[in-house]
């Protein structure tokens, strides 16, 4: 009933086109949109292949200073390492369009992963911005956590420090790590939504 009415409202909003969002705004607690994309190894991956496991989506742009803050300090990689060891699927998505900052081809994505000691499950190449638009990804890094049942359990920033300054990492509240801990403990996620921050995702200018 609740789901139905919310969907109806969304559909009505879209069809009226009155204040329709510029692109999709994912809904907390709703099924995460499925997608298909090639990864840096050239394999086709989809969200549905990971059903039954928690999934983290991380939007990235190798040239973005906010992404740099988390990779140069190593906090992103250590979280990737810890969570994937724990059975979490970690998908790093690049939606930078060709000729924009952070555009990945399979080889450039692989060399970036090697250089940064990236430790996720797969790097998805989304230069058309299809997954990005579907999830309303605005920033790098914009983070989503999907629970075992495939519903969106968290979306927003990786922590509560929307600053490029690496000094801001100290004492930050790691929202993504906390959300995953809540899911594993079977608790409701304490902070399911936060302000996403960082650089803009460098979409192609199709719209």
């Amino acid at each position: 009933m609740n789901i139905f009415s919310r969907r109806t409202v969304l559909a009505a909003t879209m069809s009226l086109g009155l204040a329709a969002p510029a692109f999709a705004l994912p809904q907390l607690g709703q099924p995460a949109p499925d997608f298909k994309a090639l990864d840096a190894q050239g394999h086709e991956r989809s969200l549905s292949e990971f059903s039954g496991r928690p999934v983290v989506l991380e939007w990235t742009n190798s040239g973005c200073p906010y992404v740099g803050k988390h990779y140069e300090s190593g906090t992103m990689q250590s979280l990737q390492k810890k969570e994937t060891a724990d059975g979490v699927v970690w998908l790093t998505v690049s939606s930078s369009a060709p000729d924009t900052q952070g555009y990945f081809t399979a080889p450039t994505a692989r060399s970036w992963a090697a250089k940064e000691r990236w430790s996720g499950t797969a790097i998805l190449l989304d230069s058309a911005g299809k997954i990005g638009r579907e999830y309303g990804a605005k920033n790098t890094p914009h983070m989503f956590v999907i629970d075992k049942t495939g519903r969106i359990a968290y979306m927003g920033g990786i922590d509560d420090r929307p600053y490029a300054d690496p000094a801001s990492l100290k004492g930050a509240k790691p929202y993504v790590a906390l959300a995953l801990a809540d899911l594993k403990a079977g608790r409701p996620v304490a902070t399911p939504i936060s302000k996403p921050y960082g650089c803009s995702v460098k979409y192609n200018s199709a719209d």
């Binding site: 009155l18 200073p65 490029a164 939504i193 803009s200 719209d207």
Partner: protein, 697 residues
């Protein structure tokens, strides 16, 4: 090797040039930053303004306090001598900076970000003070670069206020004057199916150019920044329809929608609270497109458009039924051309004259200083409600529920029975009066333009409009060919008339929608109740008429019908007593704990819109003067726990008091302890006694 050499040379160069060169080192920067002062010095205890100046490279931008979908606001970290204080940045209104499908808020070009600087009273005249600051800002074009600047400003401490800085004094003053400020604006927001309606009213918005109105929120999670903000004007302000952001998800909503309302070069700070829109925030449609349409038209062109507009008005749902019926009756004069002509001219005179009278009234009101436009009749909710009921009555009449004279045109033809010419004249008057509600949405912009012109020009436009309006009918009466082509009156007219009822029902429905926008759900409910009563009395009247026609006695029924109609009309125009309405704040367990800790008596009303007994209690007990004054006297905190939508917290709270639903009225005393549960059916007396007891125990 070459690189090493270069490095050594650079290091040597740095040593030679000294410290200042260090500040300039590094890659090419996109922002040149400096600190500037509005005054040449500062006196002890005085507050002056200094500013961070950013000269931003072309094509790049820095950010406002809410950077929008990406980016980061400029920050200044001050290092000041003891006792010196600075304020936060006084942010100028930002610009919208779209990036692909995203939206950023920020600044381009040469920007001054002022800060108030206060000297301690102990500052010693004659000394110099050094103000040091590290400014951090993200500067972006397609890509983003974080930049830092270590800045310093030295000011002499003067015995008295120092003169303005010749270069920066005026410029900083201009920025401060233009910076967004609160302006006694009433603001409320309400989630609706098509977005979050943000309604703002206030004196500064009356008559302002709202075409570029835009709301910049302080928080980045409350709206979807990139979505278009639809603008609806009202007589007292405007309503923006915003796409809700993450903050509205998961059954939550922000407590406040605070930010900057920017329009036409001005900017105001607003803080909207949840609730119904303040009156007068909508009803006048979107602003006319800038530089398009009639604004650039000369008088002749405007008159031509008005003429066409008048012609189109004939097809409006409010008007067409009347004219069609009148034209059909005209066909009855088929043999008497002279009579038809006379009637046509009389109709034309009636409608043109009515338009001119309306225009003269408008111009006079405008001259008297009222900020009104065409359709001003529709800005008052009681007028809209009455018009809706009139439309309904006309529709019911067309449907054949009852008769007026012979039918609707009787308003004119009642007189017409005495003299066809006079009757036609009044039909013209009636047609314009009934047309008025339809002209507001369709003719609004054109008439708005006319009203900004000289009275003579405005009259010409209205005259043209009236002429266009009357033309088809007059033409029919004058052209024998057309007249003979009109179908003869006959049984088809009855069918035609019933079909024409539906546009009138549509007009009534539209007016009901307007009322809902203006006054909210409660008044709409009242209107619907009145509509049912009107339909009932129309049916009674019809019954009476049929009985009378059959020779029976029907006076009682007719009187009943009249009484009921009067009742319905009174209900919709009766002013509501809002004086006794209690101000409630939204419920949260934390707020309750806070208020109880502060030693306030707390009254919690667990209610829901769909709970009838809750509404009855609200009306008969809680909205009385006795209760309002008791709450006031005992400083009772009144919290409303609205269970209209599912809410786990409220459900748990109800369960803990042994309830599965609403209503539940809880009163907490000032000395702690369990809350007292009041009966489910309240009287003012019960409530007053309960809060008196709460203030003692």
């Amino acid at each position: 090797m070459i690189r090493l050499l270069a490095g050594v040379l650079m290091a040597l160069g740095t040593l030679a040039i000294g410290a200042p060169a260090l500040a300039q080192a590094g890659p090419a920067r996109h922002v040149t930053a400096e600190l500037v002062s509005s005054r040449q010095g500062i006196a002890p205890g005085e507050t002056i303004h200094v500013a961070l100046r950013q000269q931003i490279q072309k094509g790049w931008h820095t950010y406002w306090r809410n950077s929008g979908d990406s980016g980061e606001a400029t920050r200044i970290k001050w290092e000041l001598p003891a006792g010196w204080r600075t304020s936060d940045i006084i942010w100028p209104a930002p610009r919208r900076l779209p990036v692909g499908p995203l939206m950023n808020y920020g600044y381009e070009g040469d920007v001054l970000l002022p800060v108030a600087l206060t000297a301690p009273a102990s500052a010693r005249p004659g000394e110099k003070v050094s103000l040091n600051a590290r400014a951090s800002f993200l500067v972006c074009a397609e890509i983003c670069v974080p930049e830092d600047a270590d800045l310093s400003l030295t000011l002499p401490v003067t015995a008295t206020s120092a003169p303005q800085d010749p270069k920066w004094g005026d410029q900083i003053e201009v920025v401060l004057t233009a910076a967004p400020k609160p302006a006694a604006l009433a603001a409320a927001f309400q989630p609706r199916p098509n977005g979050v309606a943000l309604a703002v009213t206030g004196a500064v918005l009356k008559g302002a150019d709202l075409a570029d109105a835009y709301f910049y929120p302080f928080e980045s999670t409350v709206i979807d920044h990139a979505a278009r903000q639809a603008i609806e004007r009202g007589p007292e302000g405007l309503t923006l329809t915003l796409a809700p952001g993450y903050g509205f998800q998961g059954g939550r909503a922000p407590q406040v929608l605070a930010g900057v309302l920017a329009l036409d070069g001005k900017a105001y700070e607003i803080a909207a609270t949840p609730g119904a829109p303040p009156p007068g925030a909508s009803g006048l449609g979107p602003p006319p497109a800038k530089g398009a349409g009639v604004s650039n038209l000369g008088l002749a062109a405007a008159a031509l458009f008005a003429l066409l507009g008048g012609l189109i008005l004939n097809l409006m749902p409010c008007v067409f039924p009347i004219l069609a019926m009148k034209a059909a009756s005209l066909a009855g004069h088929g043999g008497e051309r002279a009579e038809a002509r006379r009637q046509g001219l009389a109709f034309g005179a009636g409608s043109v004259l009515t338009f001119v009278i309306l225009a003269a009234g408008l111009i006079a009101l405008k001259a008297a200083g009222s900020a009104i436009g065409w359709g001003f009749q529709l800005q008052s909710p009681p007028v809209v409600a009455v018009l809706a009921l009139v439309m309904l009555a006309v529709a019911l009449n067309l449907s054949g529920l009852f008769e007026v004279g012979t039918s609707l045109q009787g308003a004119g033809s009642g007189l017409a029975s005495r003299g066809g010419t006079l009757g036609a004249f009044f039909t013209g008057v009636l047609a314009v009066v009934v047309a008025a509600p339809c002209t507001a949405p369709f003719m609004g912009p054109a008439l708005g333009w006319a009203l900004t012109q000289t009275p003579a020009a405005a009259l010409v436009v209205f005259l043209a409009l009236g002429t266009g309006f009357a033309a088809p009918f007059v033409l029919v009466s004058f052209a024998p060919g057309l007249l003979s082509r009109l179908p003869r009156p006959g049984p088809w007219m009855e069918l035609f008339r019933k079909a024409l009822a539906f546009p009138m029902y549509g007009a009534a429905a539209w007016l009901a929608w307007v009322l809902a926008q203006q006054a909210g759900a409660e008044d709409l409910a009242k209107l619907f109740a009145a509509a049912v009563v009107v339909a009932f009395s129309a049916w009674l009247l019809g019954l009476a008429q049929r009985r009378a026609a059959a020779g029976g006695r029907a006076r009682g029924l007719a009187v009943g019908a009249g009484l009921f109609s009067a009742l319905a009309l009174a209900a919709v125009v009766w002013p509501q007593d809002k004086a006794a309405e209690l101000k409630a704040e939204p419920y949260s367990p934390a707020r309750v704990a806070q208020l109880r800790a502060a030693g306030r008596p707390v009254f919690i009303n667990y209610t829901a819109a769909w709970c009838v007994s809750c509404q009855v209690n609200d009306k008969v007990a809680l909205s009385t003067h006795a209760v309002a004054s008791a709450f006031d006297r005992h400083k009772v905190a009144y919290l409303k726990a609205d269970w209209t939508k599912r809410d786990a917290t409220i459900a748990a709270e109800l369960a803990s008091h042994g309830r599965a639903g609403v209503p539940l009225y809880l009163v907490y005393g000032i000395h702690g302890g369990e809350g007292v549960i009041l009966p489910s059916i309240l009287t003012p007396d019960i409530v007053v006694k309960a809060v008196e007891a709460a203030d003692r125990s």
